[in-house]
Symmetry: C2
Subunit: 149 residues, 2 copies
Amino acid sequence: MPDQGMAEDMHSLVEHRLRRIDQRYTSGRRAIVDLLVTAGHPVSIGDIAERLPDLPRSSAYRHLTDLHAAGLVRRVAANDEFTRFELAEDLTEHHHHLLCVNCGKVIDVTLPSGAEQQVTSVISQLADTAGFQPHSHRLDVLGLCSACA
Amino acid sequence: MPDQGMAEDMHSLVEHRLRRIDQRYTSGRRAIVDLLVTAGHPVSIGDIAERLPDLPRSSAYRHLTDLHAAGLVRRVAANDEFTRFELAEDLTEHHHHLLCVNCGKVIDVTLPSGAEQQVTSVISQLADTAGFQPHSHRLDVLGLCSACA
DNA sequence: ACATAGTCTAAGACTCAGTCTCAATACAAG
DNA sequence: CTTGTATTGAGACTGAGTCTTAGACTATGT
């Protein structure tokens, strides 16, 4: 969890990015971003509705869409589940996901830099052979979390 | 694309797996499996409706659900797109996906075995630190396909 | 061949995640 | 304060995916 100073920097970055596309950093949007920061893992619309009961569903969708348009939020498709959302990689460490196929839990994990480099080089190989221009990647591991195992 | 012999073996494997859970390998199910085999990449319900116009949507869903329950089909969540389906890994080579963020195209790619081993070892590291029991994994690369670049 | 018990299917009603519209409100800048 | 623009809540709407049901099919026993 980021400390106060980091969180402040992050909020001003978010504000700046929104301003660039003529959008304001309002309380509703800030509530969503705060929730994503404190959650520390991808959240579904259901999670948001639970934690921000006064925020209408459609507003939550709109905020997420706007933040997504500003490149501040990304979508994570869990296995058979609903769409979840997390902060974009610019705002957090690059990480991957462990998805529990039993309880649906999503765990964020960060690779040691050596391992991450291995993955990146594997991806360049992949992309080259297909004439594909990679922007980002995701490595999801499906299995059972410690509680469900 | 698998040759005739491989396809036959695969169909009898599918039949056997269905039999184990008291289900038959009927024409509707076979049509879905054939389509997945010949497609060679994940297909959406829309694709299925287009190629099998006489098969009702709800039947397609049911077949896919049944095949999924038998462990013969897996779901692939494309980026912001609809759910797609492909044959389970037992029936095909283990592979990964290049997802075009512009046109939504999904390209299957197979890693050279050395690279695949690297990925696997990275995953064991990840899983160990979280007490996670990995079953399978997916490596998706997001970017632009050669046509959209 | 016939019966029967169980599986499979088409048709369509239904649910609910996600989108869209619009009138009312808040904000920024002069 | 006023005006133009962005934002919001409320709720209608869309469509992917699910569920139900009555009838068709298939395997097996007699």
